[in-house]
Amino acid sequence: MAPLLEAKGIAKYFGAITALHDVNFHVDHGEVLGVVGDNGAGKSTLMKILSGLFVPSEGELVFDGLPVKFSSPKDARKLGIEMVYQDFALAGNMPIYENIYLGREPGRKFGPLTVVDHSKSRQMAADHLDRLHIHVKSVDQNTEDLSGGQRQAVAIARATAFQARLVIMDEPTAALAIKEVGKVLDLIKGLREHGVAVIIISHRMDDIFYCCDRVMALYQGTNFAESPLAETNRNEVIGWIMGHKGNTDSLAHDRLS
């Protein structure tokens, strides 16, 4: 079976600056791929290309065997590629259910306007949260009244509300209290059981080693190394981030030799 998403020779230039060059990688159906890299390695730029925010300068994306071109995040969303942002990108002044269906409200269309069916939207949100085993007091709570972990859960629920096939998560645990990290990571594992592929960008080795199937490192704008999780270890991956291959325990960054 062809991979769900494949990137071939992706490059991105901003004027004279090369943010990415010759990036090649793939994500399989229902796979959780961890993407690591130092600041400036090109992680965010690559994710923005996958989610349709940036158009690549060179190279092509192949989704489900077909070449695709995204001119806006809307195009990516139509194919089921969703993005979860580091700061959650929720409207704090609005209830959970409205955030989940923001921009895609259920209701009846009258010309350019949709008359929103609030009770249907509430019900759909409650059912969807149930499916993901996310517990909230009420879908009517404003998201500003939620904890960081609950907000992240709502952001994930929004990303998966409409048959998502690939969810890209930017630092999903960076803004969370430690006690909430586990819940969110379990939620990510749960997505895989629903057949959703996930790309996680993270600085935290714990996150990567807890829930990924495979890990890939970016170094200076290109894919540097990758491996199934079972065949590597933290120190090797940390070495990749810094541009070394074949790191062993003796070379680990946190040991004094």
Binding site: R77, Y85, N93, M94, E98, L102, G103, T114, V115
Partner: protein, 325 residues
């Protein structure tokens, strides 16, 4: 306090303030305040401010501001007065105010989203001056009076319901305000675009990544504000039987005050239509109460200023309490 009561007070507490003010005035000056004529007057005098405030509310929900509404009102009023005097058929004259409002609102929206001027304050400060200048230009600075009766109707007519003695009654302008308020409530609460306006006020980035066309929505927001300002020009022209080039100077600040007193947040995303109407009434009843107690207009201004500060301070306290729990 139970959360239910807190939520009720948050949404409707402001209406209780209006009722309390009315009870106080009814107790102090029942023979004047409670007359049908006085109540009719309050409604009529504040109808155009109510329309301006409704439009301003939509803008403030997006964390914006529209300084041009007073000038739109003046330009609409004078333009339709000139057209009415020139013998333009009255159905067309009725459309002039709203059309001018829509046009200026569109320009405001374009300035904000296409020219990317840094803050709506700048763009609408510009159109405030341009529209006011146009108003003086087309009128030569002189009032234009003598409008067709059909044009005056909505600003001037009232229904005595068979038992109220003229000039008391339900003003036609009140009915227009009620229709606009219900329409705006439905738009903001029940349509996708209305919800998107609140989302933009809460977190523009969230709106953008949810696929909402933020720029297009903002243009519509300023068009709505302009439309209501144009309509308020029609009301004021009808009530005063004239087009007065100085009309509405500074009234944008009253509209902002009414919206803020009514509980909308200056930082966007919060407030409701009922609160805005209550804010208008609080200002209107305060002025009326001071008038019928022979308090000078200078004191009125001082008091309104204090009310704005206190109203927002109460909001600050409430929010602080909410954060603590």
């Amino acid at each position: 306090m139970s959360p239910r009561l807190a939520k009720f007070l948050e949404h409707y507490g402001i209406v209780l303030v209006v009722i309390a003010m009315m009870l106080v005035l009814a107790a102090i000056r029942p023979e004047i305040f409670l007359t049908a004529q006085n109540l009719t007057n309050i409604l009529k005098q504040n109808a155009s401010l109510a329309l301006l405030a409704l439009g301003m509310f939509v803008v403030i929900v997006t964390a914006g501001i529209d300084l041009s509404v007073g000038s739109i009102m003046g330009l609409s009023m004078v333009s339709l007065a000139i057209a009415s005097k020139a013998g333009v058929p009255w159905p067309l004259v009725l459309l002039i105010g709203p059309a001018i409002g829509i046009a200026v609102g569109w320009v405001n929206g374009i300035g904000l989203t296409v020219l990317r001027l840094p803050h709506p304050f700048i763009m609408t400060l510009g159109t405030l001056n341009v529209a006011r200048g146009l108003t003086f230009l087309i009128s030569n600075g002189a009032p234009v009076s003598g409008l067709q009766p059909e044009v005056r109707y909505v600003g001037q007519a009232y229904y005595d319901l068979g038992f109220l003695a003229p000039p008391a009654g339900i003003p036609a302008s009140l009915i227009l305000v009620a229709i606009c308020a219900v329409g705006l409530w439905f738009f903001l609460e029940r349509t996708d675009m209305g919800r998107h306006i609140f989302a933009i006020g809460g977190n523009p980035q969230a709106a953008r990544v949810s696929g909402i066309n933020v720029d297009r929505t903002l243009v519509v927001v300023y068009i709505i504000s302009g439309f209501f300002a144009g309509l308020s020009g029609l009301l004021l022209a009808g009530r005063t039987d004239s087009g007065f080039p100085n009309a509405g100077i500074g009234i944008e600040l009253d509209a902002i005050a009414a919206v803020i007193i009514g509980g909308a947040s200056f930082f966007g995303g919060r407030g409701n239509v009922l609160g805005v109407l209550a804010g208008v009434l609080i200002m209107g009843i305060l002025r009326n109460g001071l008038n019928i107690n022979n308090v000078s207009a200078f004191w009125q201004q001082i008091l309104i200023g204090l009310v704005i500060i206190v109203a927002v301070y109460i909001d600050v306290l409430r929010r602080r309490a909410a954060v603590r729990t």
